[in-house]
Symmetry: C2
Subunit: 131 residues, 2 copies
Amino acid sequence: MDVSETLLPGINADVNAAACPSRVMLEHITSRWGVLVLAVLLEGTHRFSELRRRVSGVSEKMLAQTLQTLERDGLVRREAYPVIPPRVEYSLTPLGEGAARQVWALARWVEGHAPDIAAAREEYDTLKARS
Amino acid sequence: MDVSETLLPGINADVNAAACPSRVMLEHITSRWGVLVLAVLLEGTHRFSELRRRVSGVSEKMLAQTLQTLERDGLVRREAYPVIPPRVEYSLTPLGEGAARQVWALARWVEGHAPDIAAAREEYDTLKARS
Protein backbone atom coordinates (compact mmCIF):
# COMPACT_ATOMS: atom_id res chain seq x y z
CA MET A 1 0.00 0.00 0.00
CA ASP A 2 1.37 3.36 -1.02
CA VAL A 3 2.04 5.72 1.87
CA SER A 4 -0.05 8.38 0.12
CA GLU A 5 -3.04 6.07 0.55
CA THR A 6 -2.72 5.84 4.31
CA LEU A 7 -5.20 7.77 6.40
CA LEU A 8 -3.67 9.13 9.56
CA PRO A 9 -5.65 7.93 12.56
CA GLY A 10 -7.52 10.71 14.33
CA ILE A 11 -7.21 13.07 11.37
CA ASN A 12 -10.38 13.72 9.43
CA ALA A 13 -10.37 13.13 5.69
CA ASP A 14 -10.56 16.33 3.62
CA VAL A 15 -11.01 16.19 -0.15
CA ASN A 16 -9.85 19.81 -0.42
CA ALA A 17 -6.41 18.84 0.83
CA ALA A 18 -4.29 17.77 -2.13
CA ALA A 19 -2.43 15.13 -0.11
CA CYS A 20 -5.50 13.55 1.52
CA PRO A 21 -6.17 10.03 0.20
CA SER A 22 -9.89 10.83 0.13
CA ARG A 23 -9.31 13.08 -2.88
CA VAL A 24 -8.16 10.17 -5.03
CA MET A 25 -11.09 8.09 -3.76
CA LEU A 26 -13.44 10.87 -4.84
CA GLU A 27 -11.69 10.98 -8.22
CA HIS A 28 -12.30 7.25 -8.73
CA ILE A 29 -16.02 7.61 -7.98
CA THR A 30 -16.39 10.72 -10.14
CA SER A 31 -14.22 9.41 -12.96
CA ARG A 32 -15.75 9.58 -16.42
CA TRP A 33 -16.83 5.92 -16.39
CA GLY A 34 -16.89 5.36 -12.64
CA VAL A 35 -19.95 7.60 -12.19
CA LEU A 36 -21.91 5.83 -14.93
CA VAL A 37 -20.91 2.30 -13.91
CA LEU A 38 -21.82 2.85 -10.26
CA ALA A 39 -25.18 4.39 -11.16
CA VAL A 40 -26.03 1.48 -13.50
CA LEU A 41 -24.99 -1.11 -10.90
CA LEU A 42 -27.47 0.44 -8.46
CA GLU A 43 -30.15 -1.15 -10.66
CA GLY A 44 -28.68 -4.59 -9.96
CA THR A 45 -26.02 -7.12 -10.86
CA HIS A 46 -24.67 -6.89 -14.41
CA ARG A 47 -22.43 -9.01 -16.56
CA PHE A 48 -19.46 -7.30 -18.20
CA SER A 49 -21.09 -7.31 -21.64
CA GLU A 50 -24.33 -5.89 -20.21
CA LEU A 51 -22.44 -3.05 -18.58
CA ARG A 52 -20.69 -2.30 -21.85
CA ARG A 53 -24.03 -2.06 -23.60
CA ARG A 54 -25.62 0.10 -20.89
CA VAL A 55 -22.76 2.59 -20.62
CA SER A 56 -22.50 3.48 -24.28
CA GLY A 57 -19.13 4.59 -25.61
CA VAL A 58 -16.95 2.85 -23.04
CA SER A 59 -14.16 0.68 -24.45
CA GLU A 60 -13.55 -2.83 -23.17
CA LYS A 61 -10.24 -1.73 -21.72
CA MET A 62 -11.61 1.34 -19.92
CA LEU A 63 -14.54 -0.60 -18.49
CA ALA A 64 -12.25 -3.34 -17.17
CA GLN A 65 -9.93 -0.73 -15.65
CA THR A 66 -12.81 1.18 -14.06
CA LEU A 67 -14.30 -1.98 -12.57
CA GLN A 68 -10.94 -3.06 -11.16
CA THR A 69 -10.38 0.33 -9.53
CA LEU A 70 -13.87 0.25 -7.99
CA GLU A 71 -13.32 -3.35 -6.86
CA ARG A 72 -10.06 -2.45 -5.16
CA ASP A 73 -11.80 0.46 -3.41
CA GLY A 74 -14.32 -2.02 -2.01
CA LEU A 75 -17.25 -0.57 -3.96
CA VAL A 76 -17.79 -3.30 -6.54
CA ARG A 77 -17.82 -7.08 -6.14
CA ARG A 78 -16.62 -9.27 -9.01
CA GLU A 79 -17.96 -12.80 -9.10
CA ALA A 80 -16.57 -15.28 -11.64
CA TYR A 81 -18.56 -18.46 -12.21
CA PRO A 82 -16.65 -21.54 -13.37
CA VAL A 83 -18.95 -22.32 -16.28
CA ILE A 84 -18.44 -22.63 -20.01
CA PRO A 85 -18.47 -20.01 -21.44
CA PRO A 86 -17.11 -18.19 -18.36
CA ARG A 87 -19.54 -15.84 -16.64
CA VAL A 88 -18.39 -12.81 -14.68
CA GLU A 89 -20.88 -10.69 -12.78
CA TYR A 90 -20.46 -7.32 -11.13
CA SER A 91 -22.52 -5.94 -8.28
CA LEU A 92 -22.25 -3.27 -5.62
CA THR A 93 -20.96 -4.02 -2.14
CA PRO A 94 -22.89 -2.40 0.74
CA LEU A 95 -20.19 0.32 0.73
CA GLY A 96 -20.55 0.75 -3.03
CA GLU A 97 -24.28 1.10 -2.68
CA GLY A 98 -23.72 4.19 -0.57
CA ALA A 99 -21.44 5.72 -3.21
CA ALA A 100 -23.76 4.69 -6.03
CA ARG A 101 -26.76 6.35 -4.40
CA GLN A 102 -24.85 9.64 -4.42
CA VAL A 103 -23.79 9.50 -8.06
CA TRP A 104 -27.16 8.12 -9.13
CA ALA A 105 -28.84 11.18 -7.61
CA LEU A 106 -26.31 13.43 -9.33
CA ALA A 107 -26.84 11.77 -12.73
CA ARG A 108 -30.61 12.12 -12.42
CA TRP A 109 -30.22 15.75 -11.36
CA VAL A 110 -28.14 16.49 -14.47
CA GLU A 111 -30.62 14.74 -16.76
CA GLY A 112 -33.49 16.66 -15.19
CA HIS A 113 -31.71 20.00 -15.56
CA ALA A 114 -30.05 19.43 -18.93
CA PRO A 115 -32.46 21.83 -20.68
CA ASP A 116 -31.63 24.57 -18.14
CA ILE A 117 -27.89 24.05 -18.66
CA ALA A 118 -28.33 24.05 -22.44
CA ALA A 119 -30.30 27.32 -22.21
CA ALA A 120 -27.62 28.90 -20.00
CA ARG A 121 -24.94 27.97 -22.52
CA GLU A 122 -26.88 29.46 -25.36
CA GLU A 123 -27.27 32.71 -23.44
CA TYR A 124 -23.57 32.74 -22.50
CA ASP A 125 -22.45 32.15 -26.08
CA THR A 126 -24.81 34.84 -27.40
CA LEU A 127 -23.48 37.39 -24.92
CA LYS A 128 -19.86 36.47 -25.71
CA ALA A 129 -20.49 36.75 -29.44
CA ARG A 130 -21.88 40.26 -28.94
CA SER A 131 -19.04 41.56 -26.78
CA MET B 1 -23.77 26.32 -30.26
CA ASP B 2 -22.48 22.95 -31.34
CA VAL B 3 -25.15 20.58 -32.61
CA SER B 4 -23.95 17.95 -30.12
CA GLU B 5 -25.05 20.32 -27.36
CA THR B 6 -28.63 20.55 -28.55
CA LEU B 7 -31.26 18.64 -26.64
CA LEU B 8 -33.98 17.30 -28.85
CA PRO B 9 -37.35 18.53 -27.64
CA GLY B 10 -39.52 15.78 -26.18
CA ILE B 11 -36.58 13.39 -25.80
CA ASN B 12 -35.42 12.75 -22.26
CA ALA B 13 -31.79 13.33 -21.41
CA ASP B 14 -29.82 10.13 -20.74
CA VAL B 15 -26.25 10.24 -19.43
CA ASN B 16 -25.76 6.62 -20.47
CA ALA B 17 -26.17 7.57 -24.12
CA ALA B 18 -22.77 8.61 -25.49
CA ALA B 19 -24.29 11.26 -27.78
CA CYS B 20 -26.59 12.87 -25.20
CA PRO B 21 -25.44 16.37 -24.24
CA SER B 22 -26.24 15.59 -20.59
CA ARG B 23 -23.18 13.33 -20.45
CA VAL B 24 -20.81 16.23 -21.09
CA MET B 25 -22.73 18.32 -18.55
CA LEU B 26 -22.23 15.56 -15.99
CA GLU B 27 -18.54 15.42 -16.91
CA HIS B 28 -18.16 19.15 -16.22
CA ILE B 29 -19.76 18.82 -12.78
CA THR B 30 -17.75 15.71 -11.90
CA SER B 31 -14.50 16.99 -13.36
CA ARG B 32 -11.49 16.81 -11.06
CA TRP B 33 -11.74 20.46 -10.04
CA GLY B 34 -15.41 21.04 -10.85
CA VAL B 35 -16.57 18.83 -7.97
CA LEU B 36 -14.35 20.59 -5.43
CA VAL B 37 -15.09 24.13 -6.67
CA LEU B 38 -18.86 23.60 -6.63
CA ALA B 39 -18.77 22.08 -3.13
CA VAL B 40 -16.68 24.98 -1.79
CA LEU B 41 -18.96 27.58 -3.41
CA LEU B 42 -21.92 26.04 -1.56
CA GLU B 43 -20.38 27.65 1.56
CA GLY B 44 -20.69 31.09 -0.04
CA THR B 45 -19.18 33.60 -2.45
CA HIS B 46 -15.42 33.35 -2.93
CA ARG B 47 -12.80 35.44 -4.62
CA PHE B 48 -10.53 33.71 -7.12
CA SER B 49 -7.57 33.72 -4.73
CA GLU B 50 -9.72 32.34 -1.91
CA LEU B 51 -10.88 29.48 -4.12
CA ARG B 52 -7.30 28.71 -5.06
CA ARG B 53 -6.37 28.47 -1.41
CA ARG B 54 -9.38 26.33 -0.46
CA VAL B 55 -8.98 23.83 -3.30
CA SER B 56 -5.38 22.91 -2.70
CA GLY B 57 -3.31 21.80 -5.67
CA VAL B 58 -5.31 23.54 -8.39
CA SER B 59 -3.28 25.67 -10.79
CA GLU B 60 -4.35 29.19 -11.71
CA LYS B 61 -5.00 28.06 -15.26
CA MET B 62 -7.09 25.03 -14.32
CA LEU B 63 -9.14 26.99 -11.81
CA ALA B 64 -9.87 29.72 -14.36
CA GLN B 65 -10.83 27.11 -16.96
CA THR B 66 -13.05 25.21 -14.51
CA LEU B 67 -14.84 28.39 -13.43
CA GLN B 68 -15.41 29.45 -17.01
CA THR B 69 -16.90 26.07 -17.93
CA LEU B 70 -19.21 26.18 -14.90
CA GLU B 71 -20.14 29.77 -15.70
CA ARG B 72 -21.06 28.85 -19.26
CA ASP B 73 -23.18 25.96 -17.97
CA GLY B 74 -25.11 28.47 -15.87
CA LEU B 75 -23.90 27.02 -12.55
CA VAL B 76 -21.51 29.75 -11.43
CA ARG B 77 -21.88 33.53 -11.52
CA ARG B 78 -18.80 35.70 -12.02
CA GLU B 79 -19.00 39.23 -10.72
CA ALA B 80 -16.22 41.70 -11.49
CA TYR B 81 -16.08 44.90 -9.43
CA PRO B 82 -14.48 47.96 -11.03
CA VAL B 83 -12.19 48.74 -8.12
CA ILE B 84 -8.44 49.01 -7.75
CA PRO B 85 -7.08 46.39 -7.37
CA PRO B 86 -9.76 44.58 -9.42
CA ARG B 87 -12.01 42.27 -7.42
CA VAL B 88 -13.68 39.24 -9.00
CA GLU B 89 -16.12 37.14 -7.02
CA TYR B 90 -17.64 33.77 -7.79
CA SER B 91 -20.90 32.41 -6.45
CA LEU B 92 -23.44 29.74 -7.30
CA THR B 93 -26.51 30.51 -9.37
CA PRO B 94 -29.77 28.90 -8.16
CA LEU B 95 -29.16 26.17 -10.77
CA GLY B 96 -25.58 25.73 -9.57
CA GLU B 97 -26.80 25.41 -5.99
CA GLY B 98 -28.74 22.31 -7.03
CA ALA B 99 -25.66 20.76 -8.63
CA ALA B 100 -23.44 21.79 -5.72
CA ARG B 101 -25.72 20.15 -3.15
CA GLN B 102 -25.28 16.86 -5.00
CA VAL B 103 -21.49 16.98 -5.18
CA TRP B 104 -21.22 18.37 -1.66
CA ALA B 105 -23.10 15.32 -0.37
CA LEU B 106 -20.86 13.05 -2.41
CA ALA B 107 -17.66 14.69 -1.14
CA ARG B 108 -18.84 14.37 2.47
CA TRP B 109 -19.80 10.73 1.85
CA VAL B 110 -16.30 9.97 0.57
CA GLU B 111 -14.64 11.73 3.50
CA GLY B 112 -16.84 9.83 5.93
CA HIS B 113 -16.09 6.49 4.30
CA ALA B 114 -12.42 7.03 3.46
CA PRO B 115 -11.30 4.64 6.24
CA ASP B 116 -13.59 1.89 4.85
CA ILE B 117 -12.22 2.40 1.34
CA ALA B 118 -8.64 2.38 2.63
CA ALA B 119 -9.33 -0.88 4.50
CA ALA B 120 -10.87 -2.45 1.39
CA ARG B 121 -7.80 -1.56 -0.64
CA GLU B 122 -5.48 -3.06 1.92
CA GLU B 123 -7.46 -6.29 1.86
CA TYR B 124 -7.51 -6.33 -1.96
CA ASP B 125 -3.76 -5.77 -2.21
CA THR B 126 -3.05 -8.45 0.40
CA LEU B 127 -5.17 -11.00 -1.47
CA LYS B 128 -3.54 -10.09 -4.80
CA ALA B 129 -0.06 -10.39 -3.33
CA ARG B 130 -0.91 -13.89 -2.08
CA SER B 131 -2.35 -15.20 -5.34
